[in-house]
């Protein structure tokens, strides 16, 4: 049992933090790849920008540094890293009594660095180092939450936000790379490596598939791997796990809870076969997965946060 508003805030902290980490990683990969002035470098920049929802703008892809700077520090853009972290921290402030001091301090520290007037200079001095540090700090935040918060309802809402956001972000990235048949297929070795880096998947991939870079293997790994924490399948399993635990306490009559949707989504990925996915078109499969993620999000709201009072008033 916890306040609906508090659950909502914790859920969004999870989402914003995950989003910020993903954006940092995309920016980092984009900046590193474009150090080489090759054609695949531009392609990588385009993938990264398309994956964050930027319209396919050739101009931006040709100026990756400016694009990354805006992606990370532009406070006018509500989707930037700085804005996401600001929102995460604002939510944390509103539920300051619900998170441990250790967890709060991590997030507060990241936010303070991001909103420091000197942040732009630090980014210019060494953007990769800046991004690398931010990602490491975000890992520390998650570690502090894991190590110091009670693994009860609040913590589960936080992780629900993390995994739902991650499933949608990785799903979105895969859709950009494999969904659109009109787009030129990615075959270039360095582009494929960069794609894996965007999902922080290069090293785990190598251990499974060796250095054999095949688009089909990459899709399989990022979509269906059971153990890799950024595969869509792994995320959906965690979403189901947390939702099942959270839903135990709700006696909502006549409401089909989000745990049912989450179970179906998990099953869809658990029993999928990469051959069938590709035969039916990766686009259709990814589209269905993303739609179901959105449905889980809506259902979470209707069940736990924005329910109507009539259903819950004592008789």
């Amino acid at each position: 049992m916890m306040l609906a508003r508090v659950a909502d805030s914790l859920y969004w902290i999870g989402r914003y933090v995950e989003r910020a980490e993903h954006l940092c990683r995309l920016s980092d990969v984009m900046l590193t790849a474009t150090l080489d002035r090759t054609e695949s470098a531009t392609q990588i920049a385009r993938i990264a920008l398309a994956a964050v929802g930027d319209p396919d703008d050739a101009g931006k892809a040709r100026n990756p540094y400016e694009a990354a700077l805006a992606l990370v520090l532009d406070r006018e853009d509500p989707g930037s890293v700085a804005s996401s972290l600001g929102l995460a921290r604002e939510n944390a402030r509103q539920v300051r009594d619900q998170i441990t001091t250790e967890t709060w301090e991590r997030l507060n520290l990241i936010h303070l660095r991001m909103s420091d007037p000197d942040a732009a200079r630090a980014f210019a001095d060494g953007s990769q180092a800046f991004l690398h540090e931010t990602i490491a700090d975000l890992h520390l935040f998650k570690g502090a939450a894991d190590a110091t918060m009670s693994h009860g309802e609040g913590w589960r809402f936080l992780l629900l936000g993390v995994y739902l956001e991650r499933a949608q972000l990785i799903g979105g990235l895969l859709e950009v790379c494999f969904g659109d048949r009109k787009r030129r297929a990615i075959t270039d070795h360095s582009a494929l490596t960069s794609l894996l880096r965007m999902a922080c998947a290069l090293e785990p991939y190598l251990r499974v598939y060796t250095a054999d870079m095949q688009p089909r293997f990459i899709l399989e790994f990022l979509l269906l791997d059971e153990d890799f924490p950024r595969s869509v399948r792994f995320c959906t399993a965690r979403i189901e796990e947390h939702l099942t635990s959270i839903s135990r306490h709700v006696e909502a009559t006549g409401v089909s809870g989000p745990d049912r949707l989450a179970g179906r989504l998990r099953a869809r990925l658990q029993y999928a076969d990469i051959g069938e996915v590709q035969a039916g078109g990766a686009s259709a499969f990814l589209g269905a997965v993303l739609d179901e993620c959105a449905a889980v999000h809506r259902q979470v709201y209707e069940t736990f946060v924005a329910y109507t009072l009539e259903q819950r008033l004592p008789a």
């Binding site: 306040l3 402030r93 301090e105 909103s115 306490h249 909502a252 004592p314």
Partner: protein, 499 residues
């Protein structure tokens, strides 16, 4: 707690023009006696400071500020380019109170709150004290803080003001006196606790040796006090803290207390009143609430009973309270007992209910509603501190000796037009304590706000918030007017120490 200027600005103003000391008497120095000798209870700290260089002190001050920044004990400054977080000015040198002095304070505060609670119980029932003419009837019944809605409502243990934060000052002769009773929603207790955390980090050695009385039981005692207000038939009463929300300047404190008590921090929008019961919206549906420690002013707790335009409380809350289904702490209407005009009668109130003399004296107060006293005040505006009865936070106030002729004329006109609204007190030289200003140690005026809890019994926490007027010579300690704060060490009586 209102937020004001920050440390850097305060330091800058000192150089711009320090105000001369005023009045016939020199202020009482907390650390040194008239001969300049360090008082015994300050000896250990004075020794420690002497061994530290300016750099080391500065380094410790920065450690302290970083602690506050990390904890998020900050307020937001909205600038044109970017928004930044500033901490509330905090001084690293603790203010120390000797054990025997604290005994007087503790006894005096207990006595005072006991009498004020009895006064409130009387005012909101038979009004015997008004019939006996001890306090003027119209003074009480016409006060905006008097809540007719509270009439004849049962309050357990007669504990109307469950949390009280009294403002004490030390006069020139070294005696503590009460300047103000805060019985509504007093704030600052989180700064008392956070300052303590910080000073343990900054002066661990001195702290260990000094025998400082612990204050960390405050959240626990607060919870016990709140629970003692519950009806007997509700086992495990659900306690919540009600906050106006994240934009309130004391929000940090609300979250801090909720976290340390382990109870939910709710906002008005989390509450639902149905059938005179109060519920909160949780993830598993609605859950009944028994006790609300509200940090929202009377006016805003229930738009149906009080201010209609308030969105901070919950509609129907007051009726649920009247029906006995929920307890609101502090009780609405306690403000009538900390009214600045009623203040003048507190010694009489103590004598009336307890048959005792007040242990802690009042500051001499002139009520402008009395024509004779008004003319005396008008003739001596340059010597008095004039306060509007309804105002707080250091606003609506004239400090005579520091004021210009124009300001005095302005107040003279206001006093003549609406004398009921003003009181005047002689300008008291608040005592001074050493503070780190820039790189140097200098004296600043301080006051003392201890916190008193009253439920089944009255408990005074052995500690306080010491507020500091950071501007040199200034007597205004309110954080909205350039005030800061520092930790306050109440020492253990050597006799009470374990051998």
């Amino acid at each position: 707690m209102k937020l004001g200027i920050v440390q850097g600005e305060a330091a800058a103003r000192v150089t711009a023009g320090a105000l001369p000391a005023i009045g016939p008497n020199l202020p009482y120095d907390e650390m040194r006696d008239e001969k300049g000798v360090v008082r015994p209870h300050y000896a250990a700290l004075a020794e420690r400071i002497d061994t530290l260089s300016a750099d080391e002190l500065g380094e410790r001050q920065r450690t302290l500020e970083r602690f506050f920044l990390l904890q998020g004990i900050t307020f937001t400054v909205y600038g044109a380019e970017s928004t930044t977080e500033r901490i509330i000015p905090t001084d690293l040198l603790p203010r120390i109170i000797a054990a025997e002095e604290w005994k007087v304070i503790e006894a005096g505060l207990t006595q005072r709150l006991k009498a004020l609670n009895m006064f409130l119980a009387d005012i909101y029932s038979g009004q015997q004290i008004l019939m006996d003419g001890v306090v003027p009837r119209d003074l009480v019944l016409s006060a905006p803080s008097y809540r007719r809605e509270m009439q004849n409502l049962f309050v357990p243990h007669q504990a109307y003001a469950n949390v009280c934060g009294s403002d004490l000052i030390r006069q020139e002769d070294g005696q503590f006196a009460v300047l103000e009773d805060n019985l509504r929603v007093p704030s600052g207790v989180s700064y008392m606790l956070a300052n303590r955390e910080a000073s343990k980090r900054v002066f661990p050695g001195t702290f260990r040796g000094a025998g400082v009385r612990p204050i960390d039981r405050y959240p626990d005692l607060l919870l016990t006090t709140l629970k003692s207000m519950a009806a007997d038939w509700r086992p495990n009463p659900q306690v919540v803290v009600l906050t106006p929300g994240v934009y309130n300047s004391a929000y940090f404190e609300h979250a801090y207390l909720a976290r340390l008590m382990g109870v939910p921090l709710v906002e008005g929008r989390d509450l639902v009143v149905h059938d005179n019961m109060v519920y909160m919206r949780t993830t598993t549906g609605l859950r009944r609430i028994d006790i609300i420690y509200r940090r929202v002013d009377d006016d805003f707790i229930d738009p149906l009973t009080f201010r209609r335009d308030s969105g901070l409380g919950s509609a129907g809350l007051f009726n649920a309270y009247r029906a006995g289904n929920v307890v609101i702490c502090n009780a609405p209407g306690t403000g009538v007992a900390d009214d600045k005009a009623v203040y003048a009668y507190v010694p009489a109130i103590i004598r009336y209910y307890l048959g005792e003399d007040a242990i802690l004296p009042n500051i001499e107060t002139f009520l402008c509603r009395e024509p004779a006293q008004l003319s005396h005040v008008l003739a001596n505006l340059d010597k008095f501190v004039v306060k509007a009865v309804g105002a707080s936070g250091g606003y609506g106030m004239l400090v005579g000796p520091h004021s210009s002729k124009a300001q005095q004329d302005e107040f003279a006109a206001a006093l003549t037009a609406d004398p009921d609204n003003y009181i005047a007190q002689p300008t008291i030289q608040l005592s001074t304590a050493p503070c780190l200003i820039g790189d140097e140690i200098d004296s600043r005026h301080v006051d003392l706000r201890p916190f008193i809890l009253s439920g089944e019994k009255i408990v005074v926490t052995p500690g306080a918030l010491t507020r500091v007027a950071l501007r040199k010579g200034s007597l205004v300690v309110n954080s909205s007017q350039g005030g800061g704060s520092k930790d306050t060490w109440v020492l253990t009586d050597k006799k009470d120490l374990q051998p």
